[in-house]
């Protein structure tokens, strides 16, 4: 049996021994791969004065001239600025030194602003300043998988920004930070659950001696999708950290002068190519069903926003009608529900991290526990020819084709009289309801191999709706060679395979089938970097849904304008921007197009 390399019974979790401790040389060079894009984030936000901001290019930053002005105001024609009623004005300009600010004074208060409308139950916007995905904050720290995506020996995850140090401490401490620029072997844990995700090498690059010039941290971990997604997920839950936008590492490096021109000369084609590749890849990912879904949302949100904008910009017109606000509110609420449902359903990233929950189910004595034992290559479950041997749920973690699988063996589904077995069946049903994947085991001798009867047998197990099932016809050895051709047989669209737990016959086919199902469930890690993309997507979708719900809170249930409509519209703009980071942004002209298409406004 060619099991090794495909199925590995896990010791502990699905951690594997650390066999390839030496990271590939030159990961630093690869670091700017795969992060491309445009957004500009630097530490200049604190500097609200105009001069400081504009000074970068030197065009306007040359303030020396302004100061001169007052002195030229002699008898000549230039400097004398005649201001009616203000004698002696010339000569003052440029020397006042009064602070230039845009007028929004005061230090931003900590999160926890009261409900703007003050109505009871309004959730007080407490989350506003902390909305995670707004980029560009001074304390903004980004992270991403910076090695090539997909399964590989070692994956490099990099973080850049002031939070890198804290992130390294949280994930890879104790014993504290390793010495700068030296590899250290650490257990890498999810700080939330203290669960060990992997053991790997970590490096700490204090700024400015790093690729981006900021504080940077690198985690070199095993290249399995579960580990990568686990680490990315753990990083994403740390305050102040967010997934990098495409290209952001390179841009940060560029902005900080870390990529000097010679380096940039060599790199620019790479950056350009990578950016293009990423863009194409993102497009490819968005072209499928998911892309269509995001597109629908984008149009719905754009329309709702446009209608609210029309209420603001054309409030004097009668072309709008009274139903505009309630309709927009309805659309926004529906959209929020959809996105939230999607976030709950689209658990692919989470499945990668926590494992796909596969449940073996079937009538008693079909060989469910034998299947479990076969798959984990050890007698984990007690097997006997007596129906109803298994009473409790038995769970075994497995790694199949690189995908993590949590396999549960359950009691045979029948209507038992024995109270102990009855409890076992209840538990089996509970577990079945939460399954991501059902392995339905039937005794091949007990069913006729027609699609109809197979379907009926499967339905009798009552698997949760819309859950993928694999129908395993066990005891193939009893057929004595005269068998059905299982690959051609389907039960209600679910694949069917023949197996003999006793002889191992048909195991390869089952494993291949399982691998396909897992790839579907987890997303295919060989296509780009799904975990990263998905973390990024769900991050933006989460922020989008949050903004949509704030919109609902401000408008209120009545659908009249109880709050500030400009503030409400701002929530839709935030939502639009978040969604736009996935689907591409929508400009003011697109909004106006919708307004003029839908309403007779203007006079």
């Amino acid at each position: 049996m060619a099991l090794s390399g495909i199925v590995r019974a896990a010791r502990g979790r699905w951690a594997r021994p650390l066999s390839c401790a030496v990271p590939p040389v030159g990961t630093g060079d690869r670091g700017h791969r795969g992060h491309t894009g445009v957004r500009v984030y630097t530490g200049h936000t604190g500097d609200r004065g105009h001069t400081g901001v504009r000074g970068h290019t030197g065009h306007t930053g040359d303030r020396g001239h302004t100061g001169v002005r007052g002195h030229t105001g002699g008898p000549g024609h230039t400097g004398v600025r005649a201001v009616p009623g203000v004698p002696g004005a010339p000569g003052v300009r440029g020397h006042t030194g009064a602070p230039v600010d845009t007028g929004h004074t005061g230090v931003p208060s900590a999160p926890g602003v009261p409900g703007h409308t003050g109505a009871p139950g309004v959730p007080g916007h407490t989350d506003v300043p902390g909305v995670p995905s707004a980029p560009g904050a001074p304390g903004d720290t980004i992270f991403a998988l910076s090695s090539a995506p997909g399964r590989c020996g070692v994956a490099v995850i990099r973080a850049s920004g002031p939070g890198s140090q804290g992130a390294l401490r949280s994930l890879a401490g104790p014993p504290g930070l390793p010495p700068p620029r030296l590899l250290a072997l650490r257990s890498i844990r999810d700080p939330r659950t203290a669960e060990t995700l992997d053991r790997g090498l970590v490096v700490w690059f204090p700024g400015p001696h790093s690729f981006t010039g900021e504080d940077c941290a690198e985690l070199h971990v095993h290249g399995g999708p579960a580990v990568i997604s686990g680490v990315l997920g753990a990083l994403g839950r740390l305050p102040g950290l967010r997934p990098a936008e495409p290209g952001e590492f390179s841009l940060r490096a560029f902005r900080r002068g870390k990529l000097d021109l010679t380096a940039a000369e060599g790199l620019r084609d790479l950056i350009g190519a990578e950016t293009e590749a990423q863009r194409r890849q993102a497009l490819r990912q968005l072209r499928g069903e998911l892309g269509a879904l995001y597109g629908t949302w984008s149009r719905a949100l754009t329309q709702a926003l446009a209608h609210i904008e029309a209420l603001i910009d054309f409030s004097e017109d009668d072309g709008l009608g009274e139903a505009v606000l309630p309709r927009a509110l309805g659309a926004v609420r529906a959209l929020e529900r959809e996105i939230r449902a999607h976030l709950r359903d689209g658990r692919r990233g989470e499945r990668l991290r926590a494992g796909v929950r596969a449940v073996i189910a079937g009538p008693p004595n079909a060989g469910k526990s034998s299947l479990l034992n076969l798959l984990c290559r050890r007698p984990a479950a007690i097997v006997s020819p007596v129906a109803g041997t298994t009473r409790d749920v038995l769970e075994v973690p497995l790694d199949i084709g690189g995908f993590p699988l949590l396999l549960s063996d359950t009691a045979g589904l029948r209507d038992p009289r024995d109270p102990l077995e009855r409890e076992g069946v209840t538990r089996a049903r509970d577990r079945l309801c939460q399954a991501d994947l059902v392995l339905a085991v039937l005794d091949v001798t007990s069913v006729s191999p027609t699609p109809g009867s197979l379907g009926a047998a499967l339905a009798a197990l009552q698997p949760p709706p819309d859950t993928p099932c694999v129908l395993v016809l066990n005891k193939a050895d009893l057929l004595g060679g005269q068998g059905v051709s299982p690959s051609a047989t389907c039960a209600q669209g679910h694949p069917v395979t023949l197996l003999s737990c006793k002889t191992g016959q048909g195991l390869e086919a089952l494993l291949e089938l399982l691998g396909q199902q897992l790839a579907q469930l987890c997303g295919n890690p060989l296509l780009g970097s799904p975990s990263l993309t998905q973390t990024r997507h769900s991050r933006h979708l989460e922020a989008c849904a949050t903004a949509l719900s704030r919109f609902g809170d401000i408008i209120g249930d009545t659908g009249d304008i109880s709050g500030d409509l400009a503030v409400a519209a701002e929530q839709l703009r935030v939502a639009r921007r978040e969604l736009g980071r996935i689907t591409g942004s929508v400009g003011a002209d697109d909004i106006l197009d919708v307004i003029f298409r839908d309403f007779c406004v203007g006079k």
């Binding site: 845009t102 940039a264 409509l565």
Partner: protein, 692 residues
């Protein structure tokens, strides 16, 4: 004729010379001329007729949603129109009152006659500003300054009588006069506004210089005699009491609140639709393909696009003593007798007398993507353009560009860095960035929906955003206004600090303010600033509960109102700050004006190169707003920013290069040039003296 020349005796022998010459006396021209003069430039305003300065050529109103924001910003830069409106308005109304102070639209019906009179008074008494009646036929051009984009530079203008006027900078604000064509029914005749001459010679010059032009159309409704309208069955809309002034300098407006006039609302019927539909063949303007404004549609286009419904018509007074009513919403280009028929189908207008028919105007505009953010042409150095000629519509849009062009024309002559407003700083910044980056295919109008940072760029804080900068960097703001803005700013800072430092537990606040449903779920203690965010709380209520130290804040009404707004928007503004910083950073990354996008060695697709060349973005921020530009293109362009930055760094190391002294390059040219040169050299000496 009959008007005195405002000031400035012109020498007879040599051509007169001004630092700034403004062509056109409309809303852009008056603001531009006044701003240049305020900045210290000897300025000449050239207009066909002094009597038309300050003419409100279309609607008798100023402000509105988005436009009111622009107006406040013009005022914050010490522009004229806000102040003049506060001396001429007859009906003040804040629109969007219930939708939040960030989108309040200050608006007023203005007495046309008074506005014109007050504007002329203002213009004719502005120091350093000379007004002259003349038509402009051509521009005086010479070699360009090296090191800047442009195929030539303007040094003056040729007048209708063949004489010339020399100028350091020229501002073109000719509105719809460039090959303006009036349409009424099937009749067309060349003109700008009715009764004025179109500017043809100038249009030819601009075309010869290679300016890309487009054609736009707009319209105006017929005018009605007030005493023939039956207002009895119509819905009346009374003005606000008290009226909210436009200008930061005005404590109150000139008119007594109770003396304000009302507007009336009526609607068109299906009968009007029938007349319009039956006579489309008589309506050239509507049938033609030139782009008109979608938001200011003619009645014809409304009927065609949204049939079988009523369309509202506002009857607006044109002045206190005026018998003219402006029917807002009834722009038409039908033949006059048919316009009369349409009018008579409208309730209240059955017996209305049409004083003047509505008409359409088609005119040339110059693609504004040929301008920099300071509104200087990239083709012709020292030539600035403002107003409708750039493809905009509206008095406020014109005035806002006028102020910016005036300031920059003046700074240019003085050899100082340009004064530009960022999208993060003002509606005027959004307006100019949209125009110069994206161009326009219909008359551009301001909307709040165009503004990313609407929560921060509010009518209430325009002074804080622009007045200080205007004073310090542009020199276009009076000392008095500056001091007032500084005082207000200090008071706001202090007020916010006071409010934030006053902290009580939530239960204490609930006890102090029994009428206010304070959420118990929020953190405790809360500051008075936090509490002020509640909708039902204002400073007066707070001051009653905690007289010390809040009593004195509540006494200054304007301050109290502004503190309330600051509190209400604080969280929004804070959450926008990150994005604002991002935009500002991108805006600071400038692209060279003369970048040849087809030649640069970067991996850019042909399509992207074409787009970049067509839009000529000035900053990376602008690049990111051009539709269809890929992230890769932006990354590659960043390199050029970087290179450029280095170059300028090097340039800066050599102090006072010739860039600021254009005249120096042209000594030995024509007489007038030599004169300019001499004057500039004089200036140069001063510069060197003071800066060493």
């Amino acid at each position: 004729p009959g008007h005195r020349r405002a000031s400035g005796e012109l020498g007879a022998a040599a051509a007169p010379r001004y630092e700034v010459v403004v062509i056109g006396g409309g809303h852009a021209g008056t603001e531009a001329a006044a701003a240049a003069a305020r900045g210290g430039a000897r300025t000449l305003l050239l207009t066909h007729r002094i009597g038309t300065i300050g003419e409100m050529s279309c609607n008798p109103s100023f402000g509105g949603i988005g436009k009111g924001h622009l107006l406040r910003e013009v005022d914050a830069l010490d522009g004229l129109c806000g102040r003049v409106c506060d001396r001429s308005g007859v009906h003040y109304k804040v629109l969007n009152r219930c939708k939040g102070p960030a989108v309040w639209g200050l608006r007023a019906q203005i007495d046309r006659g008074l506005y014109k009179e007050n504007m002329q008074k203002e213009i004719l008494s502005t120091p350093l500003l000379t007004v002259r009646e003349a038509s402009v036929e051509d521009l005086l051009l010479t070699e360009p300054e090296p090191g800047r984009p442009g195929k030539c530079q303007v040094t003056g203008v040729v007048l209708g009588d063949g004489s010339t006027v020399c100028a350091g900078s020229v501002i073109l604000t000719t509105g719809t006069f460039l090959r303006g064509m009036i349409h009424i029914g099937l009749e067309t005749h060349p003109a700008g506004r009715l009764g004025d001459q179109p500017a043809i010679g100038l249009a030819l010059t601009l075309e010869k210089l290679g300016f890309a032009m487009g054609r736009l159309k707009t319209g105006t409704p017929p005018r009605l005699a007030k005493d023939t309208i039956d207002f009895s069955g119509l819905e009346e809309r009374a003005a606000d009491i008290p009226p909210v002034p436009f200008s930061f300098l005005s404590e109150a407006v000139w008119i007594k609140p109770e003396d304000q006039l009302s507007c009336y609302l009526t609607r068109t019927s299906l009968k009007a639709q029938e007349i319009i539909r039956d006579n489309l063949h008589l309506n050239n303007h509507v049938r033609e393909t030139t782009r008109g404004p979608r938001y200011c549609p003619s009645l014809e286009s409304k009927v065609l696009r949204f049939p079988d419904r009523e369309h509202q018509v506002w009857l607006e007074p044109e002045g206190l003593e005026s018998n003219v009513i402006y029917p807002q919403g009834m722009s038409m280009t039908l033949p006059p007798e048919l316009q009369e028929q349409v009018i008579k189908t409208v309730p209240g207008l059955e017996k209305a007398k049409m004083l003047q028919p509505g008409y359409g105007v088609q005119y040339d505009f110059l693609d504004p993507r040929q301008l920099t953010a300071s509104l200087e042409s990239r083709l012709v150095q020292h030539l600035f353009l403002a107003g409708q000629i750039n493809g905009t519509t509206g008095y406020e849009e014109a005035a806002a560009q006028g102020v910016i062009a005036g300031i920059n024309a003046c700074l240019r002559v003085q050899g100082k860095p340009p004064f530009t407003v960022s999208r993060t700083e003002g509606y005027v910044g959004v307006l100019i960035d949209d125009l110069t980056t994206l161009g326009t295919s219909e008359p551009y109008r301001m909307f709040t929906s165009r503004v990313e940072f609407r929560m921060s760029l509010r009518p209430d804080n325009a002074d804080a955003r622009l007045t200080l900068r205007g004073f310090e960097e542009a020199g276009c703001v009076s000392q008095q206004r500056y001091e007032q803005a500084v005082k207000m700013r200090a008071a706001l800072d202090e007020g916010i600090a006071t409010l934030k430092s006053l902290q009580f537990s939530i239960s204490k606040w609930s006890q102090l303010l029994p009428g206010v449903p304070i959420s118990s779920s929020r953190r405790s203690p809360a500051s008075a600033f936090d509490i002020l965010q509640y909708r039902d709380v204002n400073l007066e209520i707070l001051a009653k509960a905690v007289p010390e130290p809040l009593g004195k804040l509540a006494q200054w009404r304007e301050l109290a109102e502004r503190l309330k707004i600051e509190a209400a928007y604080e969280w929004c503004v804070v959450s926008q700050q990150q994005e604002m910083a991002e935009v500002r950073h991108d805006e600071a990354l400038e692209l060279p004006d003369d970048l040849d996008y087809f030649a640069i060695d970067a991996s850019l697709s042909a399509e992207v190169r074409e787009k970049l060349d067509a839009h000529r973005p000035q900053t990376i921020g602008a690049v990111s707003r051009i539709p269809g530009i890929t992230p890769a293109a932006i990354v590659n362009l960043l390199r050029f920013v970087k290179t450029n930055h280095r170059k300028t760094e090097k340039l800066k190391a050599v102090p006072q290069t010739g860039e600021c002294f254009p005249g120096k390059m042209y000594s030995g040219k024509a007489t007038s040039q030599r004169q300019i040169s001499a004057e500039f050299s004089e200036e140069e000496k001063k510069f060197v003296k003071t800066s060493s």
